[in-house]
């Protein structure tokens, strides 16, 4: 645990922290990773952090977050424990292989690394760097940009642990792997988890990543994931965020796809004080397909920002982005979705759509679709809407006996359902469906799944108030 003073710049503070704890941070990692860290801290030093004059950060102000002084845990404070004693996941019907991160550190339930019968390796990234240094070095940092100002560089300098998955050639991991990322601390803390997913040729994987906070204290999670899909690989990636008002999450996911691979990523933000999801999706070789779905349901003064870039670098690839949000109270949402079609990416099909429903005059949605096309034989489209519920549909439902509130709830639910029904795992779809329904009825609390007795007696219930429509 480190305490730091506030009268120096955030960059300098981070650099000092890095220097002061370099041995703890490095642990038993290979030399190549240590070199990456050096480069990354150089970026922090020379380029600093984005501010509201940076294009993709115009509507999301990092400054208050960065000015807060956080503690860092450079050693794993978590003891082996039975996660089910304090937390039960809401997606319990799902038969998953589940792993837990507590405050950014892998929780060793059995072993730090598990090798399944089919050869799949799942476990702690920290341990993987020790046991499989070559494998980790080959991929880590290869798609997450180190030179750009921002939090990816910070994460690369500081990360110590996270989830590591390796799926060998031809292996179809039949059970979804579920990562439960829990934040529970009495102090304001910053976490920098790092996840690495490597899929060999013809492999299949489903990963469900759940973010929860079990505390009302201030926390800042700056996580980075990198996923590499080899030829014909398929990845179904879900991110479910249900966090407290005082939690801030910047979550950057980088995907790289080789020929004929298929990626489906879904980001479902049910609650989160301050959330920014950054996605960079590179279609590196021909015939890839990437689908990015998103749903955000926010109220009070929550802020959610989804920044996507789908980069078509090869011909005959298809991509789709569908992001939908419902905003209540003074909630704000940002969507900036970019489709980049490079010169060689002929026959690209790329679609993007962002739809928002605002329930109050104070709620705000900023949506910025961007197309950058350098090939001439492509089909791309984008659309964005900010509006209210369809009055014709409202009347239709009411004319069948549904009161205004029930009709609104049903329509909001239907609005969200367009995203939810794209979920391909049936039990997960049902659970998410149920969570969304609860959320819209104001029955979902962040304390729903928690059995800890934290410092608040009453659970925090978020409520999208339909009567305001």
């Amino acid at each position: 645990m480190q305490n730091i003073t506030e009268n120096i710049s955030t960059e300098q503070r981070m650099i000092d922290l890095f220097k002061g704890n370099i041995d703890l941070i490095r642990g038993n990692e290979p030399e190549s990773i240590s070199l990456l860290r050096q480069k990354a801290i150089e970026t922090v030093k020379t380029k600093g952090f984005p501010d509201i004059t940076t294009e993709n950060w115009r509507f999301t102000d990092l400054d208050p977050l960065l000015r807060t002084v956080y503690d860092f845990d450079f050693t794993n404070q978590s003891r082996p424990f039975d996660i089910e004693k304090i937390f039960s996941c809401d997606v319990y019907d799902l038969d998953t292989f589940s792993v837990t991160l507590l405050n950014g550190w892998f929780v060793y339930q059995n072993a730090p690394l598990t090798t399944l019968k089919n050869g799949t390796i799942i476990g702690s990234l920290s341990k993987a760097m020790e046991v499989y240094p070559e494998l980790v070095s080959k991929y880590l940092g290869k798609i997450a940009p180190l030179e750009q100002p921002g939090l990816t560089a910070l994460n690369t300098a500081f990360f110590q642990d996270g989830l590591f998955i390796y799926v060998p050639e031809d292996v179809k991991v039949d059970k979804p792997i579920q990562l439960i990322n829990i934040v529970n601390s009495e102090r304001p803390v910053m976490f920098q988890p790092r996840h690495l997913i490597i899929q060999e040729k013809d492999s299949q994987l489903t990963l469900v990543h759940c973010d929860h906070s079990l505390t009302h204290n201030i926390s800042f999670t700056n996580s980075v994931s990198e996923a590499f899909l080899a030829k014909n690989a398929e990845l179904d990636f879900y991110k479910i965020q249900n966090k407290g008002h005082n939690s801030a999450v910047i979550n950057s996911s980088f995907f790289s796809q080789k020929q004929h691979s298929k990626l489906t990523s879904s980001a479902l933000t049910l609650n989160g004080g301050f959330t920014k999801n950054i996605v960079y999706s590179l279609l590196e070789e021909p015939e890839c397909n990437a689908t990015h779905n998103g749903l955000y349901l926010v109220d009070s003064n929550q802020h959610v920002d989804n920044q996507l870039e789908v980069d078509h670098a090869a011909p005959n690839c298809t991509s789709e982005q569908l992001y939908k949000g419902i905003l209540d109270d003074e909630a704000t949402a940002v969507f900036s979705g970019k489709i980049m079609v490079r010169r060689d990416a002929q026959k690209t099909l790329a679609y993007q759509n962002n739809k928002n429903i605002l329930l109050t005059d104070d709620a705000k949605a900023n949506t910025q679709p961007q197309l950058e096309i350098y090939a001439d034989d492509v089909k791309c489209s984008h659309g964005a809407t900010v509006g209210q519920l369809d009055q014709e549909a409202m009347f239709y439902l009411r004319s069948r006996g549904l009161n205004e509130r029930a009709a609104r709830q049903l329509l909001m639910y239907a609005f969200a359902a367009e995203v939810v029904r794209r979920i391909s795992i049936e039990p997960l779809k049902e659970r998410i469906d149920h969570l969304v329904e609860k959320r819209l009825k104001g029955e979902l609390s962040i304390c729903d799944q928690c059995m800890l007795h934290c410092n608040t007696k009453e659970p925090t219930v978020f409520n999208i108030d339909v009567s305001k429509l």
Binding site: A393, L397, R398, R400, G401, L402, E404, A406, L410, F415
Partner: protein, 254 residues
């Protein structure tokens, strides 16, 4: 059952219905005919409670209550059903979920226990047969991807589920081929009873070959200009609306 007196309705300052009068008693079937743009659909919407329209004058009494004071959902629960001319597509809401919510809201209003899942499914299967619907409605969204004919059948299906006292079918025959129309008519006839009433709004006489009305009214320029028995429909079919126009002494509206 329904008594409309001196009803004057406008939208954005433009008068659509002028001094409209209609009495519908229990068990009766009334057909309201007339050329396009004379206010037929407006009448249907006003009875169902659409708030786009302004009721400037007159009254509508339903089962002894002032209908205009009721919210649309209360009208529905009290037994009024509007079969829409253009049923709305609602992606993401399953037909089954929608109907179950609607039925149970009505039952709650009437002080009845909600239908159990099994009871509901049984009722739904039974009513589907009535209108020749074979698809599983449990996983289909309301009207989404339905053909024109399916949408109209779906309206009659909903009517069969909700068992209204007064059904207003707005151009339910439009856009239907003869087979689909027979199915729709069969459904309506099956649901006819001495206890409930129907208002058929139609442009053509052909629907009335299958659903025989007790009364036929001709709506022209916002008011009923002629009323009669079912034979009036045949006369209209023979002579067209021009005849009515002349007889009513209404000026051709341009």
């Amino acid at each position: 059952m329904l008594s409309i007196k001196h009803l004057k309705v406008s939208i954005n300052g433009k008068t659509i219905l002028k001094d409209f009068n209609l009495e519908v008693k229990k068990g009766e079937v009334h057909a309201i005919m007339g050329p396009n743009g004379t206010g037929k659909s407006t009448l249907a919407s006003v009875i169902a409670g659409r708030d786009l329209f302004d009721v400037d004058e007159g009254s509508i009494t339903y089962m002894g209550h002032d209908l205009l004071e009721m919210d649309p959902e209360i009208r529905a629960r009290e037994g009024i059903f509007l079969g829409f001319q253009y049923p709305v597509e609602i992606p993401g809401v399953s037909m089954a979920n929608f109907m179950r919510t609607a039925i149970n809201e009505k039952r709650k209003y009437l002080g009845l226990e909600p239908l159990s899942g099994a009871e509901f499914l049984k009722l739904m299967e039974n009513r589907k047969k009535l209108v020749d619907i074979h698809s599983k409605l449990t996983n289909r969204s309301v009207n989404e991807g339905f053909s024109g004919g399916e949408k109209k059948k779906n309206e009659i299906f909903q009517m069969a589920m909700l068992e209204p006292k007064l059904a207003i079918l707005d151009e339910t025959d439009s856009g239907l081929d003869i087979d689909a129309m027979k199915v729709v008519a069969h459904g309506v006839n099956k649901l006819r009873s001495p206890e409930n009433s129907t208002i058929l709004i139609t442009h053509y006489q052909r629907l009335l070959d299958y659903i025989v009305p007790d009364y036929v009214h001709v709506l022209y320029d916002g008011r009923i200009v002629k009323s009669g028995g079912k034979e009036l429909a045949f006369e209209l079919e023979d002579k067209g609306y021009e005849w009515i126009r002349k007889e009513a002494g209404v000026q051709e509206a341009i």
